[in-house]
Amino acid sequence: MTIPIKHTWPTALKDSRYDQKQANAGCLFIVHPDKSVTFYAQSNAYTNAYYFVQNKATTTPTLNRDTWLRVMNEKKILEFRKLSVGWDGYNAHPIPLTVINRVLSVIKNLKEQPLYIFPSARETIQIEYDIDDKSLEIEIGSDNIEFLSVDGSLVKEWSSSDIKDVFRVINEFHTKRLVS
C-alpha cells in the first residue's frame, strides 16, 4: 500500500542530477506546484530509512515494481514542463502541456511501463520498449502518434490519431513476447 507523505523540501533537491541519484537509490520525490513534496520509496530500499530519519518521518511508503516505475515515469514526464526553447543545444521546441497531459494519461493507464521516455525536439514525447531483438517506439504529439516496430529484420512504421492504438500496440507487443 502506498502512503504518500507531504512536507516541504530544500530547493537543492530539485536539481535534476540529484533526482537521478535518488531514483537510482530507490527513492523518489515529486515536487508539486504548491512546493510540497511527495516522497516515495521502493520496497525494501535501504535508503528509505536514511531519508526518513533525515526528515523525521515515521512511516515508510512502499511501492511494488510496476507502481514504482509508473510513479518514476510520471515524475519524468512532469519534468519536461521545464524544457525551454533550444533545450537540446540546437533548436528544440518546448513540450506543450497538452502533450505532457496526453502522455501522463497514457502512463497512468499502462500495465507495462516503458523503461525509456524521452522528450523530442518536435513537441512530442517518445516511449520505447526493447525486448531481445524487438523494439517499439511510440512518439506522441498533440494530435498525432507515430509508431515504429522492429522485430528482427522486420521494420514497420505508421501513424495514427487514436490514442487507443497506443494501448493496443503495446499490449500486442508484450503479448507476442509472452507467446513466442
Binding site: F118, A121, L148, V155
Partner: protein, 126 residues
C-alpha cells in the same frame, strides 16, 4: 571542404545534451536525429576529433553535454538519408541531415538506424 557538396569521406558530428537524458544503454535515442527541419550537424572540415569536439563544446557552452557522436557521410548514404551543406555565419562547418531531397524530417526507421550506427566520439559524462 567543398561548401556545396559533402563528400562520402566526411564525418558529421552531433552534440547530445546531458539533460534531459536521451540515452539508451550505450547509444543515444533515435530522437536526436528527429528534427522537423533536418538535423543540425558539424562537418569535420579536415579537423581532428578533438578539434571538432572543442569547437562544439565551445559553441554549446551554455549546455551541459553528455556526449558527442558522429556518423560518416558514407553511412548516411547507406541509410538513405541526405547530408546537405548549410554553412551559417557563426559556423562554417554547419550542415544538416535530411530524410531525402523532398523531406527534411528523418523517418523513424532511418533515425533509429542512425542512432544505432553512430560512433561515440567523446563521452562527457561525469
Amino acid at each position: 571542404m567543398n561548401p556545396n557538396l559533402i563528400e562520402s569521406s566526411e564525418v558529421l558530428f552531433r552534440a547530445v545534451q546531458e539533460y534531459p537524458h536521451l540515452w539508451k544503454g550505450n547509444r543515444p535515442s533515435s530522437l536526436i536525429f528527429r528534427h522537423e527541419n533536418g538535423v543540425s550537424v558539424d562537418r569535420d572540415g579536415d579537423r581532428t576529433d578533438d578539434e571538432v569536439c572543442d569547437f562544439l563544446q565551445s559553441n554549446l557552452s551554455a549546455h551541459k553535454l553528455k556526449a558527442i557522436v558522429s556518423v560518416t557521410a558514407e553511412q548516411c548514404k547507406e541509410i538513405d538519408v541526405l547530408a546537405v551543406p548549410r554553412e551559417i555565419e557563426s559556423n562554417p562547418y554547419h550542415a544538416e541531415i535530411h530524410d531525402s531531397e523532398t523531406k527534411m524530417l528523418i523517418s523513424k526507421a532511418k533515425a533509429r538506424s542512425l542512432a544505432i550506427s553512430c560512433r561515440i566520439v567523446k563521452n562527457l559524462s561525469d
